[in-house]
Symmetry: C3
Subunit: 422 residues, 3 copies
């Protein structure tokens, strides 16, 4: 994991560009990615894919010719989607184009101007304070190519059915660690873990996209399919730090995604918190827009906006932990597995109980004073399988562990007493 | 306000009669009232408009010729709708026709006999105790005219739509202050305040009617229109004393009327209480009868039945406060305004987010670590505007002030991103 | 009651057989039972009526010829549905066929093997421990007659309508007192009590059946009628001990059965507990199977599985109390009566209030400062009778006693202001 982190870290990711392309190329060593190029200008709902942005160099030199700020050194120094510029300025003219975070004077802020033409640099506030009156030379050699494209990656682990579980993560952040190298890395290792498991009921889909416009484009192409097939989805973001897990519910709030994530976190014994949906945040905003209203939540550790390092150069390798990311992969895998096994069954003999004894599913000696746990689990599954409840619902109702209900469901399904309807 | 109170106080209001006519004539100085006469005998559902009742004189003299009880002095002395009578009686015969309140010996009770022929007087219990054996002379000169009529007043402030907000108050109580001169006076001043505001989305309607049979007649004529158009309504009664506000919910309990009244009272910082609907009380009983089940609650201060002075001569000018009535007018105006602005919108671009930036509604510089409040408000309105939620619902969900959502809604509506559907 | 208990106690009840036949013959002295014989082999859903089982003798003798275990002495000694056997064995061979309860060494366990051929005896664990190495003689003379039948009893108290209330109890347990002589005895005395009351709105039906296969057969014949007509039902079991009442809800949880049972128990002032439905237990499992999902709960005192004596010889006459059973009869009668009176009405004049005064239902003198309780009850019933609420719902909403609402409902019904729709 760390090896991949170190290789991905220096790349200049944005909505588009070679940094994204290289990021997906590296991740495709882990994930069987189908990488696609969406031409700039492609319209998607109310939006259009922006021109492709690439930067050759960007720096400020003082009058002695010394580079005092250099994009080479930290790609956060340049405003995302900055225009090109070449010229000389005194300090006060230059300051119009410099951005700092006075409250965190040690950190370079992360700033973008995707949809309005601007040029500018970001730097530590301490450095700004130290700048002297001088004649500064500025060079930004950046290209906005309307003949370019936006690069996205997609991978599918086929399942028995076209019912889908979606993992969505974004690849548009330059050198920051929790937000957002943790998302693509955890997603990639999750893919590997799930790929190695037995065949799933659901088709598992992973998308690696730039935030917002990437999700909007993806929905413009795939929204109809997702509306029909998507049973649960998660945006993975800010999932690499040591903090407690945060689950942000889908807009509907009680979908299989929500029930499974909350069940797994409860059973994990780990600290966690749950937040209701809110329409600011990441790409769940698009998946949960009212026209789609998909069952998509977000699994995080310390949420964006909740830690000081967020959207600054301080969100770096020392802020995250590879043990935490390992744990994130495992929790996400359990969530996916829980959704996959969380059947809704129809009882095929719904009038009275089926005779379990003649199928070898019931003790023939009526001696026990308490019904055995295994019989209880079967009875609950049979009784509640009227097509309105899934196994997680039955677990809540009965107090029986989900895994015991899964086992009971499998036994009853094998005995042809149940049909799985989703 | 006090001037109007003093002029209205002595009038002998009842279900019908010249006292009501004069009351509406005086109020029409404040309100552009359409005054109508509904003929006695007019049937309305299970009821009929009663004969018109007017009193010339009503008194009891002792054998010395001294008037010991006189309607002229206090119109509560005569039972409402009392029959005429002329004759002489000893004390014990007379007592059959005298009504007092032993538990409040200083107060004259308010008693009516609208639908059974009776004659009688009401007096202080202390006075009854002091009455001596004597030969009393009684005269009641009252007319029950089946060729008369019931007088009602109605005023409308037109709005952009035929969606209606209704204010209903009653004018059938003789000389009592909180119940019920406060209702018509607060309603009239509320009319003036709302009349002077800018044009509303809703049509505002005010009715001044006798309780019960007046409301029943009004519904017999207008029930169909109200069933279609009424979005919220309030019965204003007992709204002149210094006590805390009381909001009595509509039968449905969660209508725009209820949500707005409770929101305004919560935000007012004032003490208040909320009661669920109950089918005794005032005209909300008719509006909320099961056939209509209209969104009508009742805004009060100290509720009928909750103060000792209720339905006695002690409910007089000293029991109320013109400051309190002023405050009542303002609270009611805020409630009406809240309902008027409490839009249900449909998001016209419900698939993913619209691009707010290109419409000048979003900061072009992606720098803020927290999304601004204004952007949050727009995001919430867009996300939740699927036709099932109004702005008050969104305020509860998001924790954002209603006024900020109204502003966001207006901006998005101007940008043609929303359509108002109610 | 005690007399019947003593006569029923020694009979060898099981799924089928002469013990059941004799049990129903004795109960038919109390209940006008229609006794029916369902042939062995009759299929019912996934099940078939088993062969009829009767036992002539069953004992174990030691080598001295002394009967050390004798079915004659306690019918729990023989496994229910035991096969015949004749032979001699040493102790260790015999032990393969002996069943005890080590944790309750004084009690004979109750064990059955209905659907797998087996022979065996049950005994006190203390007796097992004392058994010496010997040559034992075993004789079980039992018949499994596939030409036999299963015996069930049914009684009906006709009502004004075909809407039904069902009391179901089971007759398949040999000599045990709480589970399950209390059920048939309480049901029989309940029948007598209800038979002597005035004519009911509902048809009352009582069934006396063997557990599980009896209920399944009954539903196979009557399930369609019950699905249409059954408004409430109860399985009566474990209802003879001194413990607090237990109400186990129907699967739906909020049916008239549930509301009435809980209301009566709350008002009784007795201690009680309520349990949500669970699909292990007694015949409510069949009535509440997902295909039927009938409004059937279970009224018990100390529930099966909650007392040590359950399913052992210690569940005997000293464990129960005839006073408790008397109380059980009375509580059940109140529950049935509450359901019977728990009307859903439609207000026939739903637009505004009907004029109660002209029907003699309202005081003509408008003097009371508080509306009388009786008028309040009428107002509530009129206001809420829109076909969605029964009188118990209205009682919860209004805080008015159910009995007052019943009285108000009757008065309004007599005045033709209400129609009873269920």
């Amino acid at each position: 994991m760390e090896k991949y982190f170190d290789r991905l870290w220096p790349l200049n990711r944005s909505l588009t560009g070679n940094g994204n392309r290289e990021t997906l190329r590296i991740l495709s060593e882990l994930v069987d990615l189908r990488i696609r190029e969406i031409p700039s200008g492609t319209t998607c709902f109310d939006w259009a894919v922006p021109p492709e942005w690439n930067v050759k160099e960007a720096w400020i030199k003082d009058s002695s010719g010394k580079k005092i700020i250099d994009f080479e050194e930290n790609n956060l120094h340049l405003i995302g989607y900055s225009q090109s510029f070449e010229g000389k300025m005194n300090l006060s003219e230059l300051k119009e184009h410099l951005h700092t975070l006075p409250s965190q004077p040690d950190a370079i802020p992360y700033i973008t101007s995707y949809y309005a033409p601007r040029w500018g640099f970001c730097l530590r506030h301490d450095q700004l304070t130290d700048l002297k009156e001088d004649n500064y030379e500025i060079k930004i050699d950046a290209h906005h190519d309307s003949g370019g494209s936006m690069t996205i990656g997609e991978a599918v682990i086929p399942g028995e059915t076209s019912n889908e579980i979606l993992i969505s993560t974004y690849i548009c952040h330059p050198s920051m660690a929790n937000n957002e190298l943790s998302g693509p890395i955890v997603s990639s290792f999750l893919y590997r873990l799930l790929m190695s498991s037995q065949r799933n009921f659901h088709t598992l889909r992973f998308i690696f996209i730039p935030e917002t416009v990437g999700a909007i484009w993806y929905l413009s192409e795939n929204g109809r399919r997702l509306s029909e097939n998507l049973k649960a989805g998660f945006v993975l973001t800010c999932i690499g730090d040591d903090g407690a897990f945060t689950y942000k519910r889908s807009r509907r709030g009680d979908t299989p995604a929500d029930k499974a994530a909350e069940y797994v976190l409860e059973k994990s014994g780990l600290e966690f918190s749950v937040e209701n949906f809110f329409p600011t945040g990441s790409d769940e905003r698009q998946f949960c827009s009212p026209g789609f209203n998909l069952p998509v939540g977000s699994i995080m550790r310390t949420r964006y906006g909740k830690y000081d390092e967020y959207h600054t150069s301080a969100d770096n390798k020392s802020f995250i932990s590879f043990d935490a990311m390992e744990e994130s992969v495992n929790i996400c895998a359990k969530v996916v597995d829980t959704i996959d096994k969380n059947a809704v069954y129809m009882n095929l003999l719904p009038y009275c109980e089926p005779q379990l004894g003649k199928r070898g599913l019931y003790p023939t000696l009526g001696s026990r004073k308490d019904t055995g746990e295994y019989v209880k689990a079967m009875m609950w599954v049979l009784n509640q399988s009227d097509g309105t409840k899934d196994l997680l619902d039955i677990s809540r109702l009965s107090g029986i562990e989900f895994s015991a209900l899964v086992e009971a469901g499998n036994a009853l399904h094998s005995a042809k007493l149940l049909e799985r309807i989703s």
